[in-house]
């Protein structure tokens, strides 16, 4: 514990991160302390095992996929900047932020949140959610509670509804369209970060 400024001085390029992610310095300091708390062996980076050690995460049915989202480029070491950039996806959308022309979308924009969710389904990163990938997610979420036939029928029905170009897979555009009416901000934001 200690004052925010002393923690902030330990973070390399803190100002850049604040600018990029939209977190305040207080949030950043808190996330840094969390990063250090998770990094039990004090390596300076996080490994998948550090995430697996979080009890509540371990009992989440899609725990592996979430961890995979952090280590998406296949690397085994997650430094603080990457940690924060990914968590920034879950910041609530700032409605009153003025959009400068030609500036990139903020990390926590609706589109980027959707992209994050998309990659949870699309494990082979081919830009489409195949029937098999959908089945895998359903299996992870339901496991022994339903029969294989029920799983397949759910998968079939979902693809039927969302797949508009009839290629038996759900592309990102189709994914986005099927979730048009869903309040993404509400579902993919962590309220207590505010």
């Amino acid at each position: 514990m200690g004052s925010t400024s002393s923690t902030l001085s330990k973070i390399p390029n803190a100002d850049e991160l604040i600018q990029e992610t939209g977190f305040t310095s207080a949030h950043l300091a808190r996330l840094f302390e969390r990063f250090e708390a998770l990094d039990k062996d004090k390596k300076g980076y996080l490994s998948p095992q550090d995430f697996e050690a979080i009890k509540e995460l371990a009992l989440n049915p899609i725990c592996d996929r979430i961890i995979g989202a952090f280590f998406s480029s296949g690397q085994e070491m997650l430094d603080f900047s990457s940690f924060v950039r990914i968590l920034a996806h879950f910041r609530p959308i700032d409605n009153n932020r003025t959009k400068e022309p030609n500036s990139p979308d903020p990390i926590n924009s609706r589109i980027n949140k959707l992209k994050f969710a998309f990659q949870l389904y699309d494990q082979d990163k081919d830009g489409k959610i195949s029937r098999n990938e959908l089945l895998q997610v359903l299996r992870a979420m339901l496991e022994k509670q339903v029969t294989e036939e029920q799983l397949e029928s759910i998968a079939d029905r979902t693809i039927q509804e969302a797949d508009l170009d009839r290629d038996d897979a759900i592309s990102f555009e189709e994914f986005r369209k099927s979730l048009e009416k869903v309040n993404i901000d509400h579902k993919m934001s962590i309220r207590f970060l505010r």
């Binding site: 514990m1 200690g2 004052s3 925010t4 400024s5 305040t24 207080a26 949030h27 300091a29 808190r30 996330l31 969390r34 708390a37 998770l38 995430f51 979080i54 009890k55 509540e56 995460l57 371990a58 009992l59 989440n60 049915p61 899609i62 725990c63 979430i66 968590l87 879950f90 969710a117 949870l120 389904y121 359903l138 979420m141 339901l142 496991e143 022994k144 509670q145 339903v146 029920q150 759910i154 029905r157 979902t158 509804e161 969302a162 759900i170 994914f175 099927s178 979730l179 048009e180 009416k181 869903v182 309040n183 993404i184 579902k187 993919m188 934001s189 962590i190 309220r191 207590f192 970060l193």
Partner: protein, 454 residues
């Protein structure tokens, strides 16, 4: 020159005398007889007023500078915000995303719920949270408990500086003196009493000596303790269980009643104290090697409780220090012995000083220094009515029943998690619970309740 020296010596001499007289009259004598002048309560109320003022100043200052104050969420808020899976699903259906083919169906967005829960637990999880100190809503002028302390106003900084001076310059030396007196007296008196033959006189004197020394130690920490329901105080031949926050718990409970302690034999100063204590009345100290042998441990405990002349045993079944916002799983060992259990709930007031010992962050000496340089340790102790194992109840169920009672009385969260989860992995059965729940909502459509583990 000499005149000045003489004057200095005289002044020092006088101040020492005054100091010690005050100490004796206001602290040690009442401790010996177990009475109180009420000075500590007055001190506590004054401090509270100052803290409130300080927090208001900080909030006002932050608003002026247009900064955002980091507000730690409290237990209650989070549980209200975390909608249960069922509620979220119903909401999703009602908002009309996807077809309405009667009954709940899988939607692509269902994954959001799990995803969000997962990321929430990455940012802050219930278990790790229990092993770091509790965050406060108002500031108690200790930098160690505050994130927002930047230079907000001169007045506040001056107040804080004054606080540091008082705590380290006046309170700390006072407390250290008291601590040494208390411990020294304990060792001395118990060794003396140990020379007496076993009998009524010995137990009587030992009780008085123990109580007196612990009361001095309590004042050494400026601990302001409120005991509730003293009619339920543990009696001989029973086991007293309490939730564990720090080594100070022992001192707090022992200053109100006599217990037989259980613990490992230590070397050094602790060892000296242990050996002295055991001369006056029977405590249970285990060698390192004996601790592993569960049967041996159980046997010694059973023998002790069977003997009605021996004092009740004091045990902390959580097995490790928790940060006093919740009660974690009780180890079943002490509940298998089959005697009356006297539960005790201890709740510290975090506004004055954080009593939690984060053994991975601080060592014992560092911790004691923190304790002695805080404003005060304020806590409440509730003695709950005795409980015994019922017919058809096994040790684990009994342990959980006692744990729930303690959590309820102390206003702590009752968690299913094991204190040993500081190190170990989660059981598969918990993951299955989550899957079962989701499938029920999708396929079954019955009313379900989230397990308390979630």
């Amino acid at each position: 020159m000499f005149l000045f020296d003489n004057l200095l010596c005289m002044l020092l001499g006088i101040s020492f005398t005054v100091w010690f007289t005050l100490l004796l009259v206001f602290i040690i004598v009442p401790a010996v007889f177990g009475v109180s002048f009420g000075i500590r309560r007055l001190y506590m109320n004054t401090l509270l007023k100052i803290f409130e003022w300080a927090t208001l100043r900080m909030e006002r200052g932050a608003k002026e500078k247009n900064q955002q104050l980091y507000k730690p969420y409290s237990n209650g808020e989070k549980s209200k915000e975390l909608a249960s899976l069922e509620q979220e699903m119903q909401e999703m259906r009602r908002s009309g995303s996807g077809s309405a083919l009667g009954g709940a169906e899988f939607e692509m967005s269902d994954i959001f719920h799990f995803c969000r829960r997962g990321v929430e637990s990455i940012v802050d999880d219930e278990v790790t949270k229990r092993f770091t100190a509790e965050e406060l809503e108002s500031w108690n002028l200790l930098t160690r408990s505050n994130y927002n302390f930047n230079h907000i106003s001169t007045r506040l900084t001056v107040l804080w500086g004054l606080g540091v001076l008082i705590r380290y310059g006046i309170l700390l030396p006072l407390r250290v003196t008291l601590a040494f007196t208390g411990v020294g007296l304990l060792v001395f008196l118990t060794s003396l009493i140990g020379l007496l033959p076993n009998g009524g006189m010995k137990s009587f004197l030992s009780e008085k000596a123990h109580l007196m020394c612990y009361r001095i130690c309590v004042r050494a920490l400026t601990a302001i303790i409120t005991y509730h329901d003293s009619e339920n105080k543990p009696k001989n031949g029973g086991i007293c269980v309490a939730n564990h926050t720090s080594p100070i718990d022992v001192i707090i409970l022992s200053s109100d009643g006599c217990y037989a302690m259980v613990g490992q034999v230590h070397g050094g100063l602790m060892g000296v104290i242990q050996r002295a204590m055991v001369k006056a009345c029977p405590h249970i100290w285990f060698e390192r090697s004996e601790v592993k042998d569960r049967h041996l441990v159980a046997k010694r405990l059973s023998d002790h409780v069977a003997d009605k002349t021996k004092l009740p045993i004091l045990i902390f079944p959580e097995g490790t220090c928790i940060n006093n916002t919740s009660v974690m799983m009780f180890k079943k060992g002490s509940f298998e012995i089959g005697c009356t259990v006297y539960p005790v709930a201890i709740k510290y007031d975090p506004r004055f000083g954080d009593a939690f010992w984060n053994s991975s962050k601080f060592g014992m000496v560092n911790y004691l220094l923190h304790m002695m340089s805080s404003w005060a340790i304020v806590c409440s102790v509730w003695y709950l009515p005795p409980m015994s194992r019922e017919e058809g109840e096994d040790a684990v169920q009994f342990a959980n029943r006692v744990k729930a009672a303690i959590a309820r009385k102390g206003g702590l969260a009752d968690l299913l998690w094991d204190g040993g989860l500081k190190r170990d992995k989660v059981k598969e059965v918990f993951k299955e619970e989550q899957q079962k729940l989701y499938s029920k909502v999708l396929v079954g459509g019955n009313r379900t309740r989230e397990p308390t583990a979630a």
